[in-house]
């Protein structure tokens, strides 16, 4: 062994991106000694791609992260430069908060939080090896210099750095994102440990100098007023500010011509790239090829920060050669004289097959080794951070000999994300989507605190004071719902006048306030004028009451589905089942179950290749064993 023995750490986090930051903070805040390694400390919490946090379904993840005691929501509340609530007309389940970040301030603010956290040490170094003993338990990590860091648990958050290659045209750099040094040794170390790897690909558009853009030829996109914070703990009044606009423009036939004429020079189409790309964020080349009949594509021009003139060209990720990129961007309205500051590029990297993990994000076969973020095959800052906090909490619990915390599909998007990754696996970068959450009417961004604060409190990341505040909030909501249900509005000319005014059917009989709120054209706030006994309540409570009353029928339906789901999740499968010996199972099911080793019947049912009949067989098998 080279080098000397270092301090004994509880948890080592490898990587300082969005997953690594949340993992390190969670473990450290739970009282463990944590060391976070980054190849470049100045790149901690770097946003190498889009300059925003949140958006559809990702906003849900950030809220949930906050409910659990994570940092991302607070950090964006401190560093945003524009904020919008998306999908406001599309229903309560899918309202989504999205903020434009000042990238540099976002990263620095996060780094400062790490630095100011007790028990948390940050260290610039490349980790090249993970040491595991013969029983399959992690012992520590080696750095590039040969230094050994002994630790109780390791969390891998290597993002897109493992054996990374960045490409555009015929230029190939063996670097990580944004010119960062790639991690070269760790992939092989993981392979030696028997971990299966895959190779994924993603990409980013060019950055362009705002001084070279004529914004008068574009649509302006301003932020919303008033600004809604991400964190449940941020006082909305404290973050109202002047906002920075984004701009919308479109590609045209000339853009598409330039791209088509040069496809052969793209490493994607030239066959140079071997990684699997995501359908969720296709490059502009992909869009033009796959949607050949579409005459134009949206392009959003978003600031990278307040103190820089660089603009992010959202919608035009590319790996075409430099000259083609320039011609392509210059074909856009308002951009004929634009100056590219950084080229767009594709990046390919090693990641693991996430089906090797438990729902607590630990490798099933290596005790104490966890992984989170893009190394698990996901894409996006929010997806990474969400996994980071779960891995961080569970690494700490592992060191303390406590069972892992698991969030299931009925509890949060974080649960859906992790369950999809570890049970089904993924063969392309996985993006969160609201359509993936089968109980999404219950998993709203507005009630993330009610859903997950108790879990954060139980884990020890949420203070007693915050937890009690939640309890009293829940009580206030229940009381108000009760009152609204019991308040009977008698028919009168005044009431019918009110109903007529709001385009609602008049009433000849007494009707409860709840019944009126349920009408599509009415709501809690509309009914304020006829609700004389209404108590003073904060806006977030009013919103809960409105949603819970208005969508009661639908919510009940989903609650019934969740009950069904919980029953299956509650039926545990012992890990010593010999599936090969269960004769009633079909062969494919035996193999799949043996491979995935699901911990309960619900998981077993979600494995591709396991049929409902196989599940029946398992039920009978389990019952038979219990009887014996």
């Amino acid at each position: 062994m080279l080098g000397s023995e270092y301090l004994n750490w509880d948890v080592a986090v490898v990587g300082g991106g969005h997953a690594g930051c949340e993992a390190a903070l969670a473990s450290a805040r739970l009282g463990l000694n944590v060391i976070l390694f980054a190849i470049q400390l100045d790149s901690i919490a770097m946003m190498p791609c889009n300059p925003n946090i949140g958006g559809s379904s990702k906003g849900h993840l950030v809220r949930e992260l906050d409910a659990l005691g994570g940092e991302m929501a607070k950090n964006i509340d401190k560093t945003f430069i524009q904020s919008r609530m998306l999908n406001a007309s599309k229903g309560p389940a899918v309202y989504s908060l999205r903020a434009q970040a000042d990238k540099r301030r976002y990263a620095w603010e996060m780094r400062r939080t790490l630095e100011n956290t007790r028990n948390l040490c940050i260290r610039q170094s490349e980790i090249t090896d993970v040491k595991v003993d013969e029983t399959g338990r992690v012992l520590g990590v080696y750095s590039e210099s040969g230094a050994f860091y002994e630790c109780g648990a390791v969390v891998l958050c290597t993002g897109t750095y493992l054996k990374a290659r960045c490409l555009y045209g015929d230029v190939i750099h063996a670097t990580g994102p944004n010119g960062q040094r790639a991690s070269v040794g760790l992939s092989d170390s993981l392979k030696r440990l028997g971990i299966r790897l895959q190779r994924f690909k993603t990409g980013t558009p060019a950055r362009i100098d705002r001084n070279s853009i004529d914004f008068s030829k574009m649509e302006i996109q301003n932020g919303d007023e008033p600004i809604v914070p991400f964190s449940f703990d941020t006082d909305p009044r404290s973050i109202q500010r002047a906002q920075v606009p984004c701009y919308l423009t479109y590609t045209n036939s000339l853009t598409h011509e330039v791209i088509r004429a040069n496809l052969s020079r793209s490493p994607m189409y030239g066959g140079v790239i071997e990684g699997t790309g995501a359908r969720y964020c296709p490059s502009i080349e992909d869009k033009v090829v796959r949607f050949a009949d579409k005459e134009r594509h949206q392009v959003f021009i978003e600031p990278e920060g307040e103190d820089t003139s660089e603009m992010y060209i959202s919608g035009m990720s590319t790996s075409l050669p430099e000259d083609v990129q320039e011609a392509m961007y210059r074909s856009l309205p308002g951009m004929s004289g634009c100056r590219v500051t950084r080229n767009g590029y594709a990046i390919e990297y090693d990641c693991i097959d996430p089906t090797q993990l438990t729902t607590g994000l630990m490798f099933r076969d290596i005790c104490g080794l966890f992984s989170a973020g893009q190394i698990n095959g996901s894409s996006g800052y929010e997806e990474a951070a969400a996994q980071g906090i779960v891995a961080g909490i569970n690494a700490a619990r592992f060191v303390r000999n406590k069972p892992p915390i698991v969030i299931d599909r009925s509890e949060g998007y974080i649960g859906v994300l992790i369950d999809d990754l570890v049970i089904k696996g993924t063969n392309e970068p996985y993006r969160m989507l609201t359509s993936r959450a089968e109980y999404r009417l219950l998993l709203r961004q507005d009630n993330a605190d009610i859903r997950l604060r108790p879990k954060g409190y139980g884990a020890g990341l949420v203070s007693r004071e915050k937890y009690e505040r939640l309890i009293s909030k829940t009580r206030e909501i229940e009381d108000e719902i009760e009152r609204v249900r019991k308040t009977v509005i008698a028919p009168s000319t005044r009431i019918n006048e009110f109903l007529r005014l709001n385009g609602s059917a008049e009433t000849m009989t007494g009707v409860t306030l709840a019944e009126l709120i349920k009408r599509p054209e009415l709501s809690c706030s509309v009914c304020a004028v006829i609700d004389s006994g209404r108590p003073e309540l904060p806006e977030d409570i009013r919103e809960q009451v409105n949603i819970q009353i208005k969508y009661e029928g639908y919510i009940k339906r989903q609650a019934a589905q969740v009950e069904q789901f919980k029953r299956m999740e509650g039926r545990k499968l012992p890990d010593n089942i010999n599936y090969a010996a269960i004769s009633g199972l079909r062969l494919e099911a035996r193999q799949k179950l043996e491979f995935h080793k699901p911990v309960n019947l619900g998981q077993a049912g979600r494995i591709t290749g396991v049929s409902p009949a196989d599940i029946s067989v398992l039920i009978v098998f389990l019952t038979a064993n219990k009887l014996q």
Binding site: G91, K287, F291, L433, T434, G584, I619
Partner: protein, 450 residues
């Protein structure tokens, strides 16, 4: 696990008696919704009671009900068994009523599985049970596949695809807010269209079953037009009692008759008229029930005398039904009407027949064969399995809900919930699981991303 399940527990076939078994905590309540006891005293466990199966106020069969109370039953759950003797059609009908009242159709081997799970079967049989489940489900799949012809499967699949298309339209605008919003009127129109198609297919289910198990053919008419004579003539034997006294037939007689490749389930019914006789009236009610679910109605008229009020009253009842053939019986007597004139007047074909001298019957048979062989109506186009029909109906109802919600201005996320249910109901027919389909569709149909 607390669901109440139901199934026909006697083998399909020509057996006179069929048993519908209902099993679960709701068994008694569900049975009570369509089984009316002759005597109103409460049902005691382990007794057999006499009564009638009712469908929406109409009695369709007399039957016996037995009740086994949990845990002393085969499955150790509350169990009700209904013995019907109206043959296949009535047993299926009774099952349908149980499902309508809230029971779920039992899966293959499910009663046995429950029996095992509740400790009613010896442990040593566990392995055998496990083998059965997969074997039976394979069998059920195979037989369901047989029941589901290629063309029907394709139609259901393509309707399911259409729903997914609409849902993708909604979802893409939800998951990619910058994408254009879906147009509500278009969505409502498309959903209603799909819903209508499914409703039609479900309605067609009865016909499909008819072709597989016999075309339910009701012989109706006012008393004494010779309905029973016609039955006997068609069967070429004395099945029904024929007298000169109007109202002789008081119950529905049912017989099978092969006509070409078709099997007709001939049902001779009581003549329809205003009658003071309560027994006869019961018979008339059955006639109405029988006509309402018939695939084919033979309307018998006495060709030798003028139409009277009773004839016209019969027409009022049957005029809405899909396939009605007019049979002018007693054509051996001097005929009063010509068939063309009648056809023009009522818009249905008429045939001169003499049940007594056995003539004209062949042209009726030929017409029936052509009717069922022709054009759109082939056995391949129908959902024959009860569970397929149910699934199609559920999907149609979900789509209707979605369309209504869309019309009422409810938000996208709620509309999508109903669509998910519709897709999964149709998936039960085609064997496709939803899950990834929608997401695949979003990314194959819409250009999204950073």
């Amino acid at each position: 696990m607390n669901e109440t399940i139901a199934a026909v527990s006697t083998p399909a076939g020509r057996g006179g008696i069929g048993i519908v078994r209902i099993c679960g905590s709701e068994a008694l309540r569900i049975a009570a919704e369509f089984f009316i006891l002759k005597h109103k005293k409460p049902i005691k466990p382990y007794t057999i009671r006499y009564g009638f199966i009712y469908d929406g106020g109409l009695p369709i069969d007399e039957a016996l009900l037995s009740y086994m109370k949990a845990p002393r039953s085969y499955t150790a759950l509350d169990t009700v068994e209904i013995n019907c003797h109206g043959g296949y059609a009535v047993v299926q009908k009774a099952l349908g009523l149980a499902l309508k009242a809230g029971a779920r159709l039992a899966e293959p081997g499910e009663f046995t599985k429950l029996a095992f799970l509740n400790g009613r079967i010896d442990l040593s049989q566990a392995e055998a049970v496990m083998d059965i489940i997969n074997a039976e489900s394979d069998y059920a799949l195979a037989s369901a596949a047989r029941q589901l012809s290629g063309s029907v499967k394709n139609r259901i699949s393509s309707l399911r695809d259409e729903i997914l298309d609409v849902q993708a339209l909604i979802e893409v605008s939800v998951d990619y807010p910058e994408y254009e919003d879906a147009d509500r009127t278009v969505i409502i129109e498309r959903l209603s269209g799909i819903s209508d198609k499914l409703t039609n297919m479900a309605a067609f289910a009865n016909l499909g079953r008819a072709l597989a198990h016999g075309v339910k053919t009701a012989i109706v008419g006012r008393p004494n037009t010779g309905k029973s004579s016609l039955l006997n003539a068609l069967l070429e034997r004395e099945r029904a009692i024929v007298t000169e006294i109007p109202g002789t037939t008081r119950d529905v007689l049912s017989e099978k008759l092969h006509v070409g490749s078709l099997i007709l389930d001939l049902m001779d019914t009581a003549g329809l008229r205003q009658s003071a006789d309560s027994i006869e009236r019961l018979g008339i009610e059955r006639t109405l029930a029988c006509a309402s679910e018939a695939d084919l109605i033979l309307w018998i008229l006495d060709a030798s005398c003028e139409m009277n009020e009773d004839d016209l009253a019969v027409w009022e009842i049957i005029r809405g039904y899909r396939r009605v053939i007019g049979v002018l019986n007693k054509s051996d007597l001097p005929p009063i009407w010509d068939t063309d004139g009648m056809a023009a007047r009522f818009g249905i074909p008429f045939f001169n027949v003499s049940a007594r001298y056995l003539y004209g019957l062949d042209s009726v048979k030929e017409h029936i064969i052509n009717l069922f062989a022709a054009g759109d109506i082939t056995s391949g186009d129908a959902l024959t399995a009860e569970r397929h029909k149910q699934a199609a109906e559920r999907a149609a109802a979900s789509l209707q809900n979605a369309a209504e919600a869309a019309g009422a201005g409810l938000p996208d996320d709620l509309i999508s919930m109903d669509l998910t249910e519709a897709v999964s109901a149709l998936g039960e027919i085609t064997g496709e699981n939803a899950g990834g389909d929608l997401i695949d569709r979003i990314f194959s149909s819409f250009c999204v991303g950073k």
